[in-house]
Symmetry: C5
Subunit: 316 residues, 5 copies
Amino acid sequence: MILSRQKGRIVPVTERAAVRGLAADKDNLIWVDLNRPTQDDLQWLSDTFGFHDLALEDANKQKQRSKVETFDDHFFVVAHGVRPHQKSALDLIELHFFVGANYLVDIRHDQFEPLEHLLENAAQSRYLQQGPDFLLYALMDMAIDTYFPAMDRIDDAIDQMDRKLLETPAKDDIERISGLRKQLVFMRKHVSPQRDVVNALISRDFPAITSETVFYFRDIYDHLMRIYDDIDFSRDQLASQLDIYLSRVSNNLNQVMKRLTVFASIFMPITFITGFFGMNFGYIQDRSPGWWVIITVFIVAVAWANYWWFKRRQWL
Amino acid sequence: MILSRQKGRIVPVTERAAVRGLAADKDNLIWVDLNRPTQDDLQWLSDTFGFHDLALEDANKQKQRSKVETFDDHFFVVAHGVRPHQKSALDLIELHFFVGANYLVDIRHDQFEPLEHLLENAAQSRYLQQGPDFLLYALMDMAIDTYFPAMDRIDDAIDQMDRKLLETPAKDDIERISGLRKQLVFMRKHVSPQRDVVNALISRDFPAITSETVFYFRDIYDHLMRIYDDIDFSRDQLASQLDIYLSRVSNNLNQVMKRLTVFASIFMPITFITGFFGMNFGYIQDRSPGWWVIITVFIVAVAWANYWWFKRRQWL
Amino acid sequence: MILSRQKGRIVPVTERAAVRGLAADKDNLIWVDLNRPTQDDLQWLSDTFGFHDLALEDANKQKQRSKVETFDDHFFVVAHGVRPHQKSALDLIELHFFVGANYLVDIRHDQFEPLEHLLENAAQSRYLQQGPDFLLYALMDMAIDTYFPAMDRIDDAIDQMDRKLLETPAKDDIERISGLRKQLVFMRKHVSPQRDVVNALISRDFPAITSETVFYFRDIYDHLMRIYDDIDFSRDQLASQLDIYLSRVSNNLNQVMKRLTVFASIFMPITFITGFFGMNFGYIQDRSPGWWVIITVFIVAVAWANYWWFKRRQWL
Amino acid sequence: MILSRQKGRIVPVTERAAVRGLAADKDNLIWVDLNRPTQDDLQWLSDTFGFHDLALEDANKQKQRSKVETFDDHFFVVAHGVRPHQKSALDLIELHFFVGANYLVDIRHDQFEPLEHLLENAAQSRYLQQGPDFLLYALMDMAIDTYFPAMDRIDDAIDQMDRKLLETPAKDDIERISGLRKQLVFMRKHVSPQRDVVNALISRDFPAITSETVFYFRDIYDHLMRIYDDIDFSRDQLASQLDIYLSRVSNNLNQVMKRLTVFASIFMPITFITGFFGMNFGYIQDRSPGWWVIITVFIVAVAWANYWWFKRRQWL
Amino acid sequence: MILSRQKGRIVPVTERAAVRGLAADKDNLIWVDLNRPTQDDLQWLSDTFGFHDLALEDANKQKQRSKVETFDDHFFVVAHGVRPHQKSALDLIELHFFVGANYLVDIRHDQFEPLEHLLENAAQSRYLQQGPDFLLYALMDMAIDTYFPAMDRIDDAIDQMDRKLLETPAKDDIERISGLRKQLVFMRKHVSPQRDVVNALISRDFPAITSETVFYFRDIYDHLMRIYDDIDFSRDQLASQLDIYLSRVSNNLNQVMKRLTVFASIFMPITFITGFFGMNFGYIQDRSPGWWVIITVFIVAVAWANYWWFKRRQWL
């Protein structure tokens, strides 16, 4: 879809051939949104704006690292977000932007609702009332804002795990802990280069980015730094949870072994005693009931002594 | 609350409308303190001082990272402290400052006693007798000084844990250790960017910060560095404590298993002996008491030999 | 093998003596490919192009680190790839390039199919239609592209291990995990200096590299960064798998010990009871069948109570 | 105590009032040593030399981080050493220096013998024959040289532990290992900023430090780097010792469990056999002695087979 | 020993007094090699070449960190190698070099064969035909080349350990692993500063180092980088081996405990059965042989059921 701002009015452009003419007037603003572009689309971009083949190939192949690359009269940005409404943070949205003096081309391979919402309501939006740098800010901000709910979801899961480890630890906790860790590492892998990208947009001299818009990109930068800090903090918590989990496993083993030892320590001596008086020597056999009582008392005494010893040492 | 210094005298300003006029005279100093600002308050700030929407939004939303941002004729600082009188260091105070040529606006969402104390006793204080940079120093120093008692509390808890691990280790020690670690990591997360902020205030050219006040900010910087060093040192100690705790768990298991092994090693052979002579073969049955005595002595000998063997190997 | 481009046509050079003359015309392009060079070959290179002895020695000895070194009128690059069609990523291809104003010499000690394919089809290729920098790009790109299938192989193995750990963990999993980790560390060791090399080619002033070709080297740089990120991400996953594996070993031990404890706790008391009534006291012997039933019921009750206790505590 | 060098002669100054006058002559050298200064002392320093309140407060409060701070006509240095003759490296000496054009003021809160020795023998020492920078070098060198015996003590303890772990590991080894680690981390915490301080003294332009004295500070820098390297090396050794200790605990458990398993595996089957023939069936009872011999041989054979199996698997 | 090159001829210098005169002619080259210098030797160096006392003290004391220090008309380098023919990499060679415009003085406290070989065959060597920088390169290259056989020895030991861990792991493996790790950490500690030294020689402006010799120092730098990479790679492998070793210990424990549990699970129930029928109740006694057969079959069935259960769960 193609939108243009001509003398302050947002107008959809239906004829692709008209774009080159519109772009020639520096007061116009053109926004080209391409979802799953065809080879024809890319060829048209190349013809109209003169984008470099390598950049178009990147935009088409996806799975790129976040980066910003300057070309003669435009620059190329790759940004990422997390697909909203997903359970896992491992599902990325990748946006590619070509930003020129008075146009922005975005290429994506996926539905991205906030962007589509802006496309539909472009006429009412302030984002198209300024240069393409401000539109770039708006779109990157949308992408990066998707990290916050993802981060909240992970933080909730970590808090839940915190409680769970105290109450009812289970065997698959460790898989869940490392599943969360994987999501954090994955997010970090994508947030880290975006931070560099936004930092470059702020500090390097991109003529297309006005000093007013820089304030807005600084805001994105802060968001990314906060996400980054949160990721590190959460990773540290997961490391603690792993320690707690493993120490719980060890403690459980201790408990199990203590119980076994207590049982064995109590029953082994008294079983021996019964064995002793079970030996087939005539000398022991056929005695008076008194003997029987004495032995029974002795057995109880031995068992109770063992029990008491363990009780005092707090094994029970 | 709004205070102003006019010709050296500290005067409360009751009419907000007067602020703009007071600020026009560069010899005056204006201090605006806003606790939980309303949208009207923020609008008034925007109208009076021309603060950027993004900065006001940050100040309103809270949960910001420490940062310093320059705008045309003022700069914006976010600083943190730990809420005093709390058991845990996880409870932050967040202060936002707008510092102009002759005014300081602070926005907070919380009671912060040292600041309120200064507000009430502003007339007697030397902090309002200089520029807004010196007032900024005073307020940031208050915030950062809250880290020291928090740090002391954590260090005390670590020392206590040190003794506890030697005397009576318990199952929940690991949760307490990682609870302390979480506090340290949390403090580190907030101290680290503040260090960058203060460093920027010292080294970069903020015209609003006089070379005399830089000495004071250097003092804050030292405080932050010391807190940072202490956090790292304490984290290392907690890592050691975790090692000690886990090795204690393992050693305990060894002790339990040694006891079980000793019991089994002593009673299994002698129970076998009693079983042997409990077999129903006529050959053994109905013998003389001599046999009985010999077997009894043999059993005692076997038990004692086992006992002695373990004693010598220091299992008992 | 030696190829030259003379007035746009790709011509093989059969006479080595002709190379010096061809190189003198700056419009020509000369590509010398040496597989397992002899001392004579190296001597000829030294005589013809004036390469430094140390660089030629490096090219001959192999096992070099990736690097770029400038000499008076040429520069020397060492690049690596992974031998394709190998099971393990531990088998390297090492390529050495000497790049001058209008020539590229590559030295290798191994078959490298993409390069050989280019040699054979040079006439149809666009890679020889520009300067030696573009040919260098083409060859380095070939080398670095070999990392992607290697990385895919490793990622597949990691995913397989993920499923295996959930289903049927085995004793040698840890060797396979650390085998994968070794491959990643090995790749990282070789990718890391290559990143520096390509970064140097992009940013430093190599007059032989035109501003147009820099775009292509930036593409290689992106590839290396992505490989590097993937290596780090995969290493993290292997660390998680190690944690899972070790916790599984501990959990298994717990399970084993629980079973033992359950068995011992059930059978020790009832075996004691049988021992008790197996003692040779006339008082117990020769009683009525009623006794026998009572004891049997008692034994079943004790065994069942123990069983129920373990069931409730979820040991079974 | 106050010393001055006047025309090459070292003279104690008894009247504090005279110091200002002496300092006015740039050829004189004044050394003020204050141990546990009173508020009056600090006031006098402030009046005489114009030191900044914050620096004096630091010097008075102690527990500062190593740092160097420049003021208008002097600079302020905080340095640390280890109290000699102590068992633990956790006991610090803190020295504060104010260095001006022709004076050095040191403030300490502790006895420090090498410094006091120099004070007493100042007349014979070459350290007062040059500027205050050389005296600063002498005093800092004294402080930093105290690290070497402390480091030697720790290295000895580590070597001792190495031998101990091989011979007679004990339960409290882990506390001793982490005690040593704590000392190393503590030293590192104080050596690290001192390195930065000395580096600043070498490289930044402190007019008070002559190019000749820089050679001497470079020597201190080397010492600090060596201490730092040694601390890292020792920390790594302690990490290895922890691994060895923990693996020994695990191996011990294995040994204990193997012994238990061997005992149980030998005695359980033969005890079962005796039980089998202990059953009260007339069919078995009252048989010929031949049966008895066969069963006894069978029991010995089962026990020996089990024993042999464990022997071959090297469990015994 | 002192050598000089006069008009291209290498001549030993027997009279120390002549050295100053020879050094005055800038076309001569003087090489002074001092093994275990006496105080007289050092004094003579100081008198003849004007070396700084601190540098001479370093050269005499040994145990220095690798460094390069510039003085007015010469520079001072400390380099290290590994003593060849030693089993362990913990035995260092330390070389100190003073390099002036036309002289090189090396001080060592040890035999170092390659250097002595060069001394004896100096007349035939190309290393003395250029400036002192090229001689410095030759000697440093000799020192650093000693790391390669040491590294090979360690890599061989690691490979051996790899095989050993798979076949016959033993209790002292962990000591051997951490012994190897200690050697690597020790080498790293000495290689790391040497890298900085050689980098300084390459990049900083040492007038004594010609642009031609810089190529050779770059070669040394590559060697150091490769050694450094190899050390890191080997360290990572040792970390993997530690993981494998510890998991093997845990797996062994599992195996031991499984065997114990299997034995106990099989024999406890059937021993109970024999106990049950061993009770002295007339009701069971003196029955027909049929009972005996039924019970025997029952015992075998119980034992076999347990065995089968464990077999199916792959415990056996």
